[in-house]
């Protein structure tokens, strides 16, 4: 189920909220789990069982970590340490193995078969369970935090299930660490103001997703429909910016909706984006883009590897590992690996001095970021390496095929999407968020949000009437 669907907005959410608010506080976690499983199961009826299985295995292992045999025992401390290690390794193996089989098996098999020129490794052709990368990473963070003894209170089974499956963040994050919500998980009160602010935030996110991301997405699709190899330089860049906006507002919108829903449920879901496109360097960009993923990799990969404390060479290696993994996390294909590696290279260059220089000249920093980020998104967007090469060539003015989408089309696109593009630029700055926080309690803000809500619903209905969503032929 998607947040931006009639089914969610007018069926699931009201019914769920009424039940959730009516039941006594001690049953709220159970209601949340049940609701989340329904939310997940509507779209993925088979994978919901997989999710439950995975959650149960993880909970069992985390409990085993702290299990103490009764009675007197020699070397109690030593055995406890060993048990913790075994449990952690088992959990890591299980979770990563799970993720590997569903997400990476076919990619690795295809690559191996290609290298060996034969059908040595069979393909599984499994469908990817929705949100598997997100919830696996949440469970991993819980296991590692447990092992490190960082958690003040460990979760009860129902709390752990609620933590992993909580529908606001189940399918598209943010990735929450258990300590961030542990207190609220045990005891939370939901005030009228929470409902009010939560719903407002949700509406803002809905607007970002439906009114900005979906709309600008048509421009990218239109351009790609003409073909990656036929584009004039101007059109290629326009497409790259359109896709950059699409992916940002889509993801940001989803994260904001998650925060709003979290608030309505009595949680505080961490922020995931902080106006990333106004960054002055790529490293700053990654501190502002998908912040929960960045901090996950930092906390559980980069720092355990030694971070930047063991010399330049080791730092470079650690960055490489983190960025190759970040690339792979986003998708099992070579373009994602390439995408991660590009960031690795850029970050190393920045660490070696370019960063300092950029800080001194802010304008250049902005230009540098705004030129490079669209290029990286193109690498992200186009899975077919040959097409990717053609598109990047177009962006540099190199054409293998005849240019078929030229400046005339560029002007037409500008005319058609000009206002939308201007809105996208505005919403990529930090101002709309500031205005939101400043004015959200005023009556006119309420009316604006109400308008956004119904305009979004209108767009959703038009989209679903036309089964091809935001394509119109």
């Amino acid at each position: 189920m998607l947040f931006s669907s009639v089914g969610f907005l007018f069926r699931f959410l009201p019914v769920f909220m009424i039940i959730y608010l009516i039941v006594p506080a001690k049953y709220r976690n159970s209601v949340l789990v049940a609701g989340s499983l329904i939310f997940y199961g509507v779209g993925e009826p088979n994978f919901v069982l997989l999710l439950i299985f995975s959650v149960l295995v993880n909970y069992g292992l985390s409990e085993y970590m702290f299990w103490e045999p009764a009675g007197p025992c020699k070397d109690r401390e030593k055995k406890a340490v060993r048990r913790r290690k075994i449990a952690l390794i088992a959990a890591l193996t299980f979770d990563l193995g799970f993720l590997f089989v569903f997400k990476y098996w076919d990619f690795v098999a295809n690559t191996l078969n290609g290298l060996l020129r034969g059908e040595y490794v069979p393909l599984l052709s499994l469908a990817l369970p929705l949100g598997i990368s997100f919830y696996t990473f949440q469970m991993l963070s819980y296991q590692i935090d447990c092992y490190r003894g960082k958690l003040e209170q460990r979760a009860r089974l129902i709390e752990f299930m609620a933590y992993v499956s909580m529908f606001p963040q189940l399918i598209a994050g943010p990735i929450i660490r258990y300590e961030e919500i542990a207190g609220r998980m045990r005891e939370r009160r939901i005030g009228v103001r929470d409902l009010e602010n939560g719903l407002k935030l949700f509406t803002a996110g809905l607007g970002l997703k439906v009114l900005l991301a979906n709309q600008i997405g048509t421009l990218w699709n239109t351009i790609m429909t003409a073909g990656a190899g036929n584009l004039h330089l101007s059109v290629a860049w326009l497409g790259a910016f359109a896709y950059s906006f699409q992916i940002y507002f889509d993801f940001w919108g989803y994260s904001v909706m998650a925060m709003g829903l979290g608030k309505m449920l009595g949680f505080r879901i961490p922020r995931n984006f902080d106006a990333p496109y106004t960054s002055e360097s790529i490293s700053e960009f990654w501190r502002r883009w998908h912040m929960t993923l960045g901090s996950w990799f930092k906390e559980y990969v980069y720092i355990p590897l030694g971070g930047n404390r063991k010399g330049a060479l080791s730092t470079t290696r650690n960055l490489f590992v983190v960025w190759a993994l970040t690339g792979l996390w986003h998708g099992a294909d070579w373009n994602f690996v390439l995408w991660g590696i590009v960031f690795f290279i850029l970050l190393v260059i920045e660490k070696r001095g370019l960063g300092q220089w950029l800080e001194q000249t802010k304008v250049l920093g902005h230009i540098y970021t705004l030129v490079l980020i669209p290029i990286t998104w193109v690498i992200f967007a186009i899975t077919d390496i040959r097409q990717l090469g053609a598109y990047l060539g177009n962006m540099a003015g190199i054409h293998q095929d005849k240019v078929m989408v030229g400046t005339a089309q560029f002007m037409r696109y500008l005319k058609e999407y000009g206002i939308l593009l201007a809105a996208c630029v505005l919403f990529a700055t930090p101002y709309p968020a500031k205005w939101y926080h400043k004015w959200k309690d005023r009556w006119f803000a309420v009316l604006v949000l109400l308008f956004i809500f119904w305009l979004s619903v209108h767009e959703i209905i038009i989209g679903s009437n036309n089964p091809f969503l935001y394509f119109r032929f």
Binding site: P24, T225, R412, F473
Partner: protein, 410 residues
């Protein structure tokens, strides 16, 4: 917390009521105690809570004042759910309106329907067995028969069918090319049972009208008009037919073509009223390709009825023009979705219907699908990004195809 439990519970119920989705009974029950029980649960920290609850008691008014947005959304949502079939669960009304639509369409299109049934039931005698096309399940049982639209041997039987199906030729054009009209044949296969309001499996695929076409050069398009949706827009943008006039929009349908909203004339980028354009300017050829946006709008009968009206109207305004009815291009395997109405069986259903209008004299049916589809009838994945539209460079093939299907007046 424990001592407050009862209060908390009450508050929650009230909040639910305030969300506006609960029964009136609860509200009544609570309003008696609201003054007493409505201690603040609005702030998060228990400390502040305590302090507040001792200081002030919130009235209903104050709480309502705190959530105007929730109230507004809830109220409008309830109103929308009651009024709108899209949002609400007004299944009864939906069922009724669909049924009404269906009967209306049925009664209006009756003549056409009969003609159509007649044709699909009785394929002509020279049947040959060939393999099904575009449908894996068709298998070897699929039968291919040629249906003749126009009179080949002037037997009374076929003559009748012509009257039922194809649009009558225009006066002048009819006389000009009357000697050897083209034939529109169908390829038959075993149809699937489809449970959809929008379409059924036609069980036959319309083939390009068989005719003695002439290979033309680009000047052929100098007096041509193209009417269509985004795929025609693609031809306009990338096929390099600079002489022709293109009237097309993304999302265009046969229902909207002659409507008041108009269609974008690609040379100026402005919306024009097709009624006016087609009455004022005479074209030698008119190419129509519409049907994609109709896949989930109305059903095939309505589509055919409307198509027929449009073609007849154009025939009246443009007695000299050769009308080409172009098949809608299939979609790719990835985009083909049997669960929704967005699939090749539906596209094929629409195509087979529109092909009935071809008369082989001045109305021709052109199926360009064989140029771009694989052996199962899916749009070749390598030719498309979105599974629907061709990459710009492949429109050249289409242009060539159109040039090969010139019709010369004698």
């Amino acid at each position: 917390m424990n001592t407050n439990k009862k209060t908390v519970k009450k508050n929650e119920i009230e909040k639910a009521v305030r969300k506006g989705k609960d029964g009136r009974a609860v509200q009544k029950n609570n309003s008696r105690n609201s003054e007493k029980n409505n201690k603040d649960s609005l702030t998060k920290s228990p400390k502040r809570d305590k302090r507040r609850s001792s200081q002030e008691k919130r009235s209903w008014k104050e709480i309502l004042y705190n959530c105007p947005y929730v109230l507004l959304v809830s109220a409008t949502a309830i109103a929308a759910m009651l009024c709108s079939d899209e949002i609400g669960v007004n299944v009864m009304a939906m069922g009724e309106s669909a049924a009404a639509w269906k009967t209306e369409a049925g009664s209006l299109a009756d003549g056409m329907e009969q003609a159509e049934e007649e044709m699909s039931d009785q394929p002509s005698e020279d049947e040959t067995h060939t393999e099904g096309f575009g449908d894996a399940e068709a298998g070897p049982e699929a039968v291919s028969g040629a249906v003749e639209h126009s009179a080949k041997d002037n037997s009374g039987d076929t003559e009748e069918r012509t009257d039922g199906g194809a649009v009558k030729p225009g006066q002048t054009a009819g006389q000009d090319t009357a000697d050897k009209p083209g034939i529109t044949r169908f390829e038959y296969y075993e149809p699937q049972q489809i449970d959809s309001y929008y379409y059924s499996d036609a069980g036959r695929i319309a083939l390009t009208t068989e005719y003695d076409y002439v290979l033309e050069n680009d000047s052929y398009f100098n007096d041509a008009a193209f009417l269509g949706d985004s795929r025609t827009l693609g031809i306009s943008d990338y096929a390099g037919l600079d002489g022709a006039d293109f009237y097309c929009d993304s999302g265009m349908t046969i229902f909207k073509l002659l409507g008041e909203d108009g269609v974008t004339y690609q040379k100026t980028g402005e919306k024009v009223d097709m009624n006016q354009v087609l009455q004022e300017k005479q074209y030698g050829k008119i190419y129509i390709m519409l049907g994609m946006n109709e896949l989930g709008y109305g059903n095939t009968e309505m589509y055919l009825k409307q198509y027929r009206e449009v073609v007849e109207q154009i025939r009246q305004w443009q007695p000299e023009a050769i009308i080409y009815i172009m098949a809608n291009l299939h979609v790719s395997r990835e985009k083909n979705s049997p669960e929704t109405e967005f699939n090749n069986i539906n596209i094929n259903d629409k195509n087979a219907a529109s092909a009935l209008l071809a008369n082989g004299r001045d109305i021709f049916y052109l199926d360009s699908n064989p140029l771009f589809t694989d052996e199962d009838g899916f749009l070749n994945a390598e030719l498309t990004f979105d599974g629907v539209h061709l990459y710009a460079q492949h429109y050249d093939v289409w242009r060539q195809f159109l040039l090969e299907h010139g019709v010369e007046r004698r």
